[in-house]
Amino acid sequence: MSELYSAKSATRTEKAEPAEKPNKKRDFLPDHQGCSLSSLWVLPSKAVRFETQEPEEEILMILRAHWVTNILWFLLATILFFAPFLLRFFPLLDSFPVRFQLMFVVVWYMVLAMYVFERFLSWFFNLTLITDERIIDVDFLNLTTKKVSDADIDKIQDVSFTNAGAVGAIFNYGDVLVQTAAEIVEFIFEKVPNPAGVANVLQRLRTEEKIEAIEGRVR
């Protein structure tokens, strides 16, 4: 009991003057490094930062939906790209003046370009950041709505994951469900690659935070 009390009081004193966090080698992080277009990017470069990042906070992982989840819209976009070429064989627009036919093709590709860009942005900015202190969930709901929520690692109560469906099993992606004691009680990282690995990282970080709290190295 006295140990517990001393640990708590140590935590209080350290909170007033944050201690330098030693540079750790976290062997539990996945080996796969990734890049800016990857679904899983481990230890991204220091140039990557987020809005509410604290100076000492380090981004450990950036997660997005697995790239396989983009195949459907990508195939659709490819088909739509070649669709105007079919007009040579099916002269649907021949009754229109040439300028209208030309405008139809221009507008078609403009809409297609916007569709592809919007779908890409939707995938690209729907991401989860795992830092050594927090998890940050960025949701790009549509072009006018974004939602950013975060929770401290030490507020995590439960981490579970699912590998749903045949495609999910083949490509090893699924949902990671994080329940927290923070304001946002539930975080779902949808269709992220290697959900078991991600859940493991979160569990290990949680343990790390607990040890830091006991040792009095809480920021």
């Binding site: 800016s36 991204p44 990557v48 930062r49 950036i62 403009m110 900015f125 960025v138 974004k146």
Partner: protein
């Protein structure tokens, strides 16, 4: 009255079509501007990942939509 009948008889269906195309392109123009703003905001939330490339693509789409709109308005 005669003028009205004359206009009805000589109504150009294709100018009506041009009007609708311009309305559509106007909506597209506004939409592409929203995309530019949204990309700017999102790259502020998370910076350092393809920030410049995404902004350039968004601006190119917007500029292209302006060019097409003006071209349609003047020459179509």
């Amino acid at each position: 009255m005669e003028e009205f009948i004359h206009q009805l008889l000589h109504f150009n269906f294709w100018s009506f079509g041009k009007f609708f195309i311009l309305v559509g392109l106007g909506v597209y123009l506004v939409f592409s501007f929203v995309v530019v703003r949204q990309v700017k905001l999102m790259t502020q939330v998370v910076s350092g990942i393809l920030t410049n490339s995404l902004r350039v693509v968004a601006w190119l789409l917007f500029l292209f939509s302006i060019i097409v709109f003006i071209f349609t308005l003047l020459f179509f």
